[in-house]
């Protein structure tokens, strides 16, 4: 009899424990797709492209960090950070087929609800930029890109690498007499927050495709005015003297990011 009583008591105890568990909040999945473009067309590296000056431009590398990728809450829905940092690299955009395939990031267990838009810090957020890379796991984007993107002299990650060649003499042929460019903005001062408003409704168990475009044309062209790439002063962003250029390029993410 005692055993039976104990068994019943234990059963009640465990059942009670189960009832205390908080009900799971309904969640959804967000698939972020990011397409690299140049002036509205898929960005193909190593291909001559039209620059507003009338000359040709050719990109060889285009990549960047995006941090604090956040869905902006609306009403009772709170803001939700999808990712603390991501590294997007269009290195495989070597032909049209590849260029038409967006980079993809998958975020699961996102609380359902209606969000007002998305907010992204282009670059590496200050707290991450100043953190010690020695503690990062290997699959962290900051560890993966540490060697290639940590600029020791600035104690900062390079936030974006845009590299290529500009047909300076306009002869339609790229060679060493033309102007190479190597824009590597970094430092906390050039971190750029971009907010894009749109209604995003996440339903339980569903996957929401968040399609974004990074248009590198808009990094270089603002209101129809293109950066003068024939000017040697605009060739790179290596020193503090180049800070205004670095800020300008990063600031253009406000228009370069599109739905």
């Amino acid at each position: 009899m005692r055993k039976l009583a104990f068994f019943l008591f234990a059963s009640l105890f465990f059942a009670a424990c189960g009832e205390d568990e908080a009900p799971k909040s309904p969640t959804a999945t967000v698939n972020l797709h990011l397409l690299g473009e140049y002036n509205g067309e898929p960005l193909v590296l190593f291909q001559p492209l039209d620059y507003p000056s009338g000359n040709k431009i050719r990109f060889q590398n285009f990549n960047f960090f995006a941090s604090k990728i956040t869905l902006l809450g609306a009403g009772s829905t709170a803001d939700y950070q999808l990712s603390s940092v991501e590294f997007f690299d269009f290195k495989d955009n070597l032909d049209l087929v590849s260029a038409e395939t967006p980079l993809e990031r998958n975020y699961e267990n996102v609380p359902v609800g209606t969000y007002n838009g998305i907010q992204i810090d282009f670059g590496v957020s200050e707290e991450l930029n100043n953190a010690q890379s020695g503690n990062l796991p290997n699959d962290n984007p900051l560890r993966q890109a540490f060697a290639s993107h940590y600029w020791s002299d600035w104690d900062s990650y390079i936030f974006m690498k845009s590299e290529g060649i500009y047909d300076k003499n306009g002869d339609g042929v790229f060679n060493q007499s033309d102007q190479g460019f190597e824009h590597h903005p970094g430092m906390d001062a050039v971190l750029t927050r971009v907010t894009k408003m749109t209604s995003i409704t996440l339903e339980e168990g569903q996957t929401f495709d968040l399609d974004l475009v990074a248009d590198v044309f808009d990094i270089y062209v603002e209101n129809g005015v293109a950066l003068d790439l024939s000017d040697p002063d605009n060739q790179d962003t290596q020193s503090l003297a180049d800070l205004p250029l670095a800020k300008s390029l990063m600031g253009h993410w406000a228009t370069a990011l599109k739905f």
């Binding site: 020695g134 993966q144 540490f146 060697a147 060493q176 190479g180 590597h184 290596q238």
Partner: protein, 376 residues
């Protein structure tokens, strides 16, 4: 009499059990190793300032026994066909685990077409190994040289048999990996041991390390010439008009790694088109023509010890290397000419850059007995 009968039965039964039922070949049952204690000692690496984290694969944790086994395999020519070549033949401790020959001779003196690479701090690399990046992990990398016909020219099956028969290695594989039978010694375990040893090859004690990463307050640690070279290396001139820039760190930063682990065509080979590189490097692996002629940027740590230079060892001195980059090299469509461009460095600038490169030399690791040849 009973004993004789028993022994006879035992011998006959033993022989029968060693025979394959189908073709009659003798099967080696291996050696039971379970009497040898298996109690590996975990080994924790100390990561010096300036270096990033190092991933240790979950299926190959560092142990004292594994590292020691790896060290022995590294220095043992048993891995080669005729027992003349070991890993250390091309990765010499005294040359920052590199080879002073442009092309290291393999078994029979055969030559390949690429220079050996330094192994110092190799465990921190995450963007491919070899000049062309064809191996993702040290465990995979370690498998290749054994069967390369111009390196060790052996086949792993033979190496496995040699190790399985070797009294000391049987014991050490047991102690490192807990195998129960000598036949469980495999190339995968050998590669794991080699990888463990390679992950310990850490160097971070050059004069520049002390100044930059260890915050050594000694103001005389670097000379004025070396500091000027540092500025040229990192393009750190605060935008001074006309100031010299070397653009070196674009490919050789990465904190105290002194490599950005990028693949670049560094303009050393003149070609008419991207299809014309005699050694396609990364392009041969990816199949992308725009990767042709690209090779991994190596670490400049101990660069003064690792002559000759470039993937084919074409430059004998650092002066030649600096002169190459100062010239801008040979244009090709995949050269990033934003940084590989005529630099117009003065003689003083070149001397300063050279002096700075020498500050990246760390000879203290020579003194680490754990890195030395255990057979000497």
């Amino acid at each position: 009499m009973k004993k004789i009968i028993f022994c006879s039965f035992a011998i006959i039964f033993g022989l029968i059990s060693c025979k394959d039922d189908d073709d009659g070949t003798v099967v080696n049952p291996g050696e039971d190793l379970t009497a040898i204690a298996y109690d590996p000692t975990p080994h924790t690496l100390t990561i010096p300032p300036g270096l990033p984290s190092m991933e240790i694969p979950a299926d190959n944790p560092l142990t004292s026994e594994g590292i020691e086994l790896g060290r022995r395999l590294f220095y043992d020519p048993i891995l080669s066909k005729d027992s003349t070549i070991s890993c250390s033949s091309c990765h010499n401790l005294n040359f920052s685990f590199n080879d002073p020959k442009a092309i290291s001779p393999g078994v029979g003196g055969l030559l390949g077409n690429r220079s050996s690479m330094s192994l110092i701090n190799v465990g921190f690399q995450v963007n491919g190994l070899f000049w062309d990046g064809r191996s993702a992990t040290l465990e995979d990398q370690a498998l290749h040289p054994v069967e390369n016909p111009v390196e060790m020219a052996e086949i792993w099956e033979n190496v496995e048999v040699k190790l399985q028969r070797h009294a000391d290695y049987k014991k050490r594989f047991r102690q490192a990996f807990g195998i129960e039978n000598s036949l469980e010694i495999t190339k995968e375990l050998a590669a794991k041991a080699l990888a463990q040893f390679e992950r310990t090859l850490i160097s971070a004690n050059s004069r520049f390390d002390k100044k930059r990463w260890q915050q050594d307050p000694n103001p005389f640690l670097l000379s004025d010439l070396e500091v000027d070279g540092q500025k040229i290396f990192y393009d750190d001139l605060l935008g001074a008009p006309g100031a010299p820039t070397g653009h070196c760190a674009h490919c050789h930063d990465g904190g105290a790694l002194y490599t950005s682990e990028v693949y670049r065509n560094n303009a050393i080979t003149e070609v008419a088109t991207l299809n014309d590189f005699p050694d396609k490097g990364l392009g041969a692996i990816t199949g992308n023509v725009t990767d042709n002629g690209m090779f991994k940027s190596t670490s400049l740590r101990n660069i003064a010890l690792t002559a000759p230079y470039m993937h084919d060892g074409r430059f004998q001195t650092l002066e030649e290397v600096i002169e190459h980059y100062n010239s801008g090299g040979h244009y090709a469509d995949n050269v990033v000419i934003g940084s590989i461009t005529p630099l117009n460095l003065s003689d003083y600038d070149k001397q300063a850059l050279l002096a700075f490169l020498h500050t990246l030399t760390d000879t203290t690791y020579y003194e680490n007995p754990a890195f030395r040849n255990p057979f000497e």
